[in-house]
């Protein structure tokens, strides 16, 4: 594979690791006054991570539109649904 392709994958992975550590901090409410805000942030970050796993690791960025949009829609609907359920339930 091309070196550029590998570099992008490794870059996405590094960003996912950073996002995981940030969600740990937010979820365990370090440096945040509000537990609810921290947990909501950790939940929202998870769906951003899911999107990048789908687009880059699963290679859906270049998939035909129906498949790519099905996944994007799933991430959006389930992400908003769960964050909303957490905040409102």
């Amino acid at each position: 594979m091309s070196a550029t392709g590998t570099r992008r994958l490794v870059g996405v992975w590094a960003a996912l690791v950073v996002a995981t550590l940030l969600s740990w901090l937010a979820g365990d409410h370090h440096g945040l006054d509000s537990v609810r805000l921290g947990v909501a942030l950790a939940l929202a970050l998870a769906f951003v991570k899911v999107r990048y796993v789908a687009l880059d690791f699963m290679e859906l960025r270049t998939a035909p539109p129906p498949l790519r949009w099905a996944i994007e829609l799933w991430v959006l609907v389930v992400g908003i649904g769960l964050v909303g359920l957490y905040l409102l339930a």
Binding site: W24, A46, V50
Partner: protein, 216 residues
């Protein structure tokens, strides 16, 4: 939990058991890969349905938490956030390596693809080991699934996820053997990889739901 063999493991060159007749009475074409679709289209229906079932689990967990906030707040204090975070990092690394394995196979480098898939499987083993440590500590401390609704959800969600991970590892063992024999189609490798990425992706959501959402 039993499942039929995922469609992407079925030899797509074999004649279909039931041929769906197309309008006009002519038998439809056999399932085939579609350019740009990793694996084959049928696999993606399976993955999206599976992911949606998990989404319902997550929703049920959050509703349970709203009903019994004190039980969930107390329950989560017994979990090891460090082990949960470690397992998230293990699966992210395994997903990266799996994506590299797909590209190695595509480039015709079967030995490298086999080595990379073996590394993915080691990541899977590490995940199981961390999960076993956490479960053993919980059970040893008197928190079996029936001890509270929090632990019922915790063991159900992480248990079903673990079954998926083990199924993914079995799939990758098959994929690796076929890559070694020079008999792995591009679709087979991409399909196995996509399933593994789904196991990773589900854990990314399980992590904040189970480890953090109970906090008050």
């Amino acid at each position: 939990m039993t499942r039929e063999l995922p469609s992407f493991l079925v030899d797509r060159d074999a004649p279909p058991v039931v041929a769906a007749p197309a309008p006009g009475g002519v038998a439809g074409p056999p399932r085939a890969s579609v350019p740009g679709v990793p694996g084959e289209p049928g696999l993606w229906i399976f993955l999206l349905v599976d992911m949606t079932i998990f989404a319902v689990f997550f929703g049920a967990f959050l509703v349970g938490r709203a009903d019994e906030p004190a039980v969930f707040a107390e329950g989560r204090t017994h979990l090891s956030v460090a082990l949960g975070t470690a397992n998230t990092l293990v699966l992210l690394a395994s997903s990266l390596v799996m994506a590299l394995a797909v590209r190695a196979h595509r480039a015709g480098d079967a030995p490298r693809a086999r080595r990379l898939i073996a590394t993915v499987l080691l990541g899977g083993l590490l995940f199981v080991a961390f999960k076993a440590i956490e479960w053993q500590a919980l059970l040893g401390d008197g928190h079996p699934p029936a001890s509270s609704s929090f632990f019922t959800y915790y063991f159900a969600i992480t248990g079903v996820h673990l079954l998926h991970l083990v199924a993914g590892a079995v799939v990758l063992l098959v994929v690796r053997a076929r890559v070694g024999a020079g008999a792995a189609s591009r679709g087979l490798v991409e399909g196995g990889a996509s399933y593994w990425h789904m196991v990773d992706l589900l854990w990314l959501v399980i992590y904040p739901v189970v480890y953090f959402a109970g906090a008050t």
